[in-house]
Amino acid sequence: MNQLNTLCLAGLSAMLAGCVGVRYEPFETTGDAVQDGIRLAARAPQKDRVMWNYRTAAVALRSARFEDAKRLLDDCIGTIEGIYGPDKMAKSARTYVGKESSKTFIGEPYERVMAYFYRGILYWMDGEPDNARACFRSAQVHDADAEDNSYASDYVLLDYLDGYASAKLSTDGSDALKRARANTAQGPLPDYDKSANVLVFVEYGNGPIKVAAGQYRQKLRFREGHSPNQSAAISIASKTAQAEPLDDLYYQATTRGARVIDHILAGQAKFRRSTDKVGNAAIITGAILANQQGRKSSADEIGAGLLLFGLASKLISSATNPRADTRAWDNLPRYLSFAAFRVPPGEHELTAEFKDGAGQIRRKKTLSISLPAASKDVVVFVSDKMN
């Protein structure tokens, strides 16, 4: 009996040892959100690097730290594009005792789409509309495998910008414009103005929030992020454009349908439920048998065996982890929009007014813009977030 106790203790010690895992040193912020994000990414487990880089890239973009944003997004896109083939972390995430969150994080399709979307904006800022278009196309491809085909590749803005970049490059963008117009719920999209020289990318609201639902938190679900700003008005050189939401990330996140991993997690949850029930039944039956007869009777021995079997089954059940992965790019916007202006060269002030559902201005941002005489597009990114 002593030996049995020792072995049980050894088992528990081994389990506890597994819980110690990675120990983090205290993190002191520097006040520079981009630098802090980069440092957090560096000390995060490899599987979470992309998540930190995503978040930091968004902060960098909103803080006009474009070189940092480019570097971080390129790193993320490199991981997204190289995810093919066998992967030990992914394999362990599929096992009964593995967690989905042990896989390398690349995000759900709407998160991957945003990585390409932001990188596309940065390429356009650098005067490379064809590479920007490549990013918008890749983004749309990441939304192409929705369960219901009618929701596949249905980002309005990505198609609209694909066509706009083509028009700017003096090629035909009419197909992409047609697709964008077919998908939009925001009235008719304007024709492309090839002479527009100020292109304004607008984002506002808060993106979807991932939650794990179900008995064992095995179902990935999305909650709406709080989005007081419902529209925006952009003004420059006495011209104003309404930047209504062309895409809604909450809508995109919730129209993808089931993932393959959802079926795996459902199987794990079923296994956990079954082993738990079997464990309960074995423990109860074992306890009854063990109490009904005298010591060292065969019923007592069977009862004790059943108790141990029940305990083992309960342990196996509790070791099964069907919890859905809720790691997220948590500083995304909810709405994406765009406006283009034709403005004479010189110094200008661009104003963005973010409005709530009643049309009241909730936030106002002003940017100084210098337009060169040469026919070069100036690309502006405006967010309702502080960074």
Binding site: L4, L7, A10, G11, L12, S13, A14, M15, L16, A17, G18, C19, G21, V22, Q46, K47, E81, G82, I83, Y84, G85, P86, D87, K88, M89, A90, S92, A93, V97, K99, S102, K103, R119, Y123, E128, D130, N131, A132, R133, A134, C135, R137, S138, V141, A144, D145, L169, R259, V260, I261, I264, E301, G305, L308, F309, L311, A312, L315, I316, A319
Partner: protein
Amino acid sequence: MNMQMNSWSVALSLVLIGIGTGCQTGVRNPSGVGVTVLQPDEQGFVAGTGIESQDLVRVANKMSRGILGVPEINGVQGVPRVVLDPVINETRFPINKDIFLTRIRVALNSQAAGKVRFLARSRMQALEREREMKRKGQVTSSTDPNANAFKGADFFLTGKLQSLTTSTQRGKSDYILYSFQLIDANTSDIVWEDFDEIKKQGVVDAVYR
């Protein structure tokens, strides 16, 4: 005796489960992986379905061989001058557009020195500044600085990258068509054109689908 054996088996199972769950640290290659030197024309163990170094090398080598066989380049008196016009990227992959033409130019310059010359149009700003300083006598000149010695192009070398993508829950397939042209700068004739095409597909692990 049976009961004792069963207890031992169960307890051993507990230990194994404990160790099994305890070993999930989530760290891959904890002791790192040494640097591996690869040839640029071979596929590495980190690969995607996009444009990679082996594609660049394959396409650029094919195009440079093709250009050398063009009669307008190979069979004319004098040395034809070529200007590189940026490649048009219509794929879904952002790329450094200069890299294909740079690879072709370097291959031609190293393999067929003298048969064709490339004009450094991307350096015109620096070249004009240098000429201006020579004209003003600020720096010395071995030739007459007032003569217009900048050469005009006989040919433009350019290309286009286009792609088709199929995406399903299992993975992605990308076909890329690389086409390059040599255009006569005086007549706009396309004197040479060639293409290469590469198709790749990748299947992702089920946990990413």
